[in-house]
């Protein structure tokens, strides 16, 4: 007989509040209902009240783990409106910060996956070797997670030359320890028995659900924004894309572990390029003209998509944000049924879902709403829009 197992909103496997209802027959999951909305904070609604610089600061607070992917994508969107060029040194710093964040996000997921299948040693080890990455971020940007590095037309603060030797030997230490961890994880027979063939997502399903990032790469789809649309320094740095075939939890693990090695090599190339090039880090942008811009970036979980429509004032008329987990979470419907209960839980975690990313919100054009402090600005904007519409 079928009974429903409620999962969430508070459950140790879910860092954030999320509600799944697993229809279970005995120990086997038959169907899965999802209900989102617990983490909804109205991001896009707020980002219309603020100008572009404040929006970038706000957009960083969408998700703690991929906290520099959103600002990079948002800045790409704004730069896409007028095709603004950024100085070469800023490109390398952006890629350096992005790749370091990918290392710390994948290590975080590796630890949590170990924790969910009861393998606490892997959890502690991978989080122990994640601390140096956070220290490097603290050296560069002053904060462990919300770096506040991105500006329109460049980067907030510069990588000071005397910090570079410290960064390099921290990277060396991480790479050497990562070899040990990846050996421990890849050829451990019990782990293989536990994760092989669990919650497989076929290539056809992944394409149909438009999955992005490591989830799609684990199912064989070759999709990587760094390769497809190489902005910043990804055109000048050589790395290769990791694709696996059968898309089960074990392959997702392997794809992420190998990507950590790729990111370490990219960071090294960026750092020794930074030593050679010097120059400005930010060419300041005065005016954002009217138009639309699409910004994309390869976050640790997939393609982050920002769409900004500006009307010439210093505030975005429309700011649409779509996080990668928004497309990856529905794939549970394809990968969860037919799996035993304990496997279903690790499949839910295997997509590395970031629920707070998924539910940022939608925007309202707020010109009819009077804001006391921004009264004048909104009035001018309404006049401009009205006569623009009366015009055509």
């Amino acid at each position: 007989m079928k009974n429903k197992v409620p999962l969430g909103p508070y459950h140790p496997i879910l860092e954030e509040a999320e509600y799944f209802e697993l229809e279970v027959e005995g120990e086997e999951v038959v169907d899965l209902e999802m209900e989102v909305g617990w983490m909804h904070r109205g991001h896009e609604y707020i980002s219309e009240q603020e100008n572009f610089n404040q929006a970038i600061y706000l957009v960083e607070r969408i998700c703690g783990i991929c906290s520099t992917s959103h600002p990079i994508a948002c800045v790409h969107a704004i730069e896409d409106i007028d095709n603004i060029e950024i100085p070469e040194r800023a490109q390398y710093i952006r890629s350096l910060v992005g790749e370091m964040e990918r290392i710390h996000s994948h290590l975080l997921w590796l630890g949590l996956a170990g924790h969910f299948i009861g393998y606490d040693t892997v959890w502690m080890w991978s989080w122990k070797y994640r601390e140096p990455v956070l220290e490097m971020m603290e050296i560069i940007s002053g904060n462990r997670n919300h770096y506040g590095m991105m500006r329109v037309g460049g980067v907030g603060n510069d990588v000071v030359p005397q910090d570079i030797p410290e960064l390099v030997d921290k990277l060396e230490m991480i790479e050497e320890k990562m070899n040990m961890i990846s050996k421990a994880v890849q050829d451990d027979p019990v782990l293989k028995a536990r994760l092989k063939g669990v919650g497989a997502l076929t290539k056809k399903e992944a394409r149909n659900y438009c999955a992005v990032g490591p989830v799609a790469r684990a199912s064989g789809i070759n999709i990587d924004v760094r390769k497809d649309e190489p902005t910043d320094a990804y055109g000048k740095v050589d790395f290769e894309e990791i694709i696996a075939e059968n898309g089960d939890v074990y392959d997702k693990l392997i794809v992420r572990v190998k990507e950590i090695f790729e990111s370490i090599s990219i960071c090294k190339q960026c750092i020794n390029k930074l030593e050679k090039i010097d120059g400005p880090v930010l060419n300041d942008v005065k005016e954002i003209s009217k138009g639309e811009g699409i910004g994309r970036y390869e976050a640790p979980r997939g393609e982050v998509f920002h769409y900004i429509r500006s009307d010439g004032s210093n505030r975005a008329l429309r700011h649409k944000i779509r996080a990668p987990s928004y497309m990856n979470i529905p794939t549970y419907k394809a990968s969860c049924p037919g799996v035993s209960l304990s496997d279903a839980l690790i499949t839910l975690a295997a997509v590395d879902p970031c629920y707070c990313c998924t539910e940022r919100a939608l925007k309202i054009k707020s010109d009819s709403e009077e804001k006391p402090d921004l009264l004048q600005l909104s009035k001018q904007k309404t006049e401009r829009i009205r006569e623009e519409h009366n015009g055509n």
Binding site: H11, I13, W123, A193, R194
Partner: protein, 308 residues
């Protein structure tokens, strides 16, 4: 007779000794597994603090759960463990035991698993019922192998069912010395790992999957009893294995260190197994016990019969 029976039951091999030793060994387990993970680990009196704190907290009884079995389960399992510690402690320390006490010990061990099932089922929560179901499945998995593990020393020490006679039969040479002894000892350690629901087999209390299974709805003093039971099992099962395979304790001079080493050997092996592999799924655990461990122990039994 009954005055020192109370002393045996309540103080020496019984409740006080087992729980204090269990809490200390529980601390060793937490400390060593923390060192495994490069962590500092809790201070010495941490487990005592946990138990006293839990005793002081409010016990929440759930509206839609069956009140009486919910309360009885931890107390009866606590009682069964105290009796177990008596039956295993007496032959080891005072060389007193009654005929056929191995069978009684095996039956009382079953009581604990059934009480966990009763507690989980009575708390009216989806996760606890799943945890209770898993507890019985795991119990089915390791019970047969554990039975063979107990048969090997009986056979090798000349078919007598008394613990004292098994211990005395081993004065010549411990059961572990022979091939079938080694097989039985290793299978015994893995069975203990499963009976105590330690790491690779902690499927019923999978902390991250089904929120500590049957223990989820317990709080306050009832939870203190459950935690105390878990720590007392750290003492009872290794002692039982020592009695069966390692020839019990002898307390003349050098013997004390030797018996302490035996005990620490078993505890350290269990901690290492706990920290080096992830949690198995319930069907894989069942197939592991039935397809791999059971044939090996059966071969060990045959070797024991042949007297190799």
């Amino acid at each position: 007779m009954n005055v020192d029976l109370f002393f045996y039951l309540l103080v020496f091999p019984g409740f006080l000794f087992t729980s204090i030793l269990g809490l200390i060994v529980g601390w060793i387990d937490r400390k060593v597994s923390a060192r495994f993970q490069y962590r500092v680990g809790p201070p010495f009196f941490q487990n005592f603090n946990d138990i006293f704190k839990l005793l002081g907290k409010q016990t929440v009884l759930i509206k839609n759960s069956l009140k009486s079995p919910f309360i009885i389960a931890p107390l009866v399992s606590f009682g069964s463990l105290v009796i177990l510690s008596l039956f295993i402690g007496l032959p080891l320390f005072f060389d007193k035991s009654f005929g056929g006490d191995i069978l009684v010990i095996l039956y009382i061990m079953v009581v604990f698993s059934i009480m966990v099932f009763l507690g989980g089922g009575a708390s009216g929560n989806v996760y606890s019922s799943i945890g209770a179901g898993r507890e019985i499945k795991l119990f089915l998995a390791d019970e047969l192998t554990f039975f063979l593990v107990c048969l090997i020393p009986i056979v090798s020490s000349g078919y007598n069912l008394e613990l004292t006679s098994i211990i005395s039969a081993q004065n010549a040479g411990a059961v572990v010395g022979s091939i079938h002894g080694i097989i039985g000892f290793l299978a015994g350690i893995i069975c203990i790992q499963a009976k105590m629901t330690m790491q690779p087999f902690d499927i019923p209390e999978a902390e991250t999957e089904i929120i500590e299974g049957p223990l989820m709805e317990y709080s306050g003093s009832l939870l203190a009893f459950w935690k105390l039971n878990h720590y007392m099992m750290y003492v009872i099962y290794p002692f039982f294995l020592i009695a069966l395979y390692l020839g019990g304790f002898d307390f003349q001079g050098l013997g004390i260190i030797w018996s302490l080493l035996k005990y620490l050997l078993i505890v350290v092996i269990m901690i290492i197994i706990k920290n080096t592999n992830p949690r198995l799924q319930i069907n894989k655990a069942l197939s592991f016990f039935w397809k791999i461990l059971f044939p090996i122990t059966f071969i060990g039994l045959i070797l024991a019969i042949l007297g190799v």
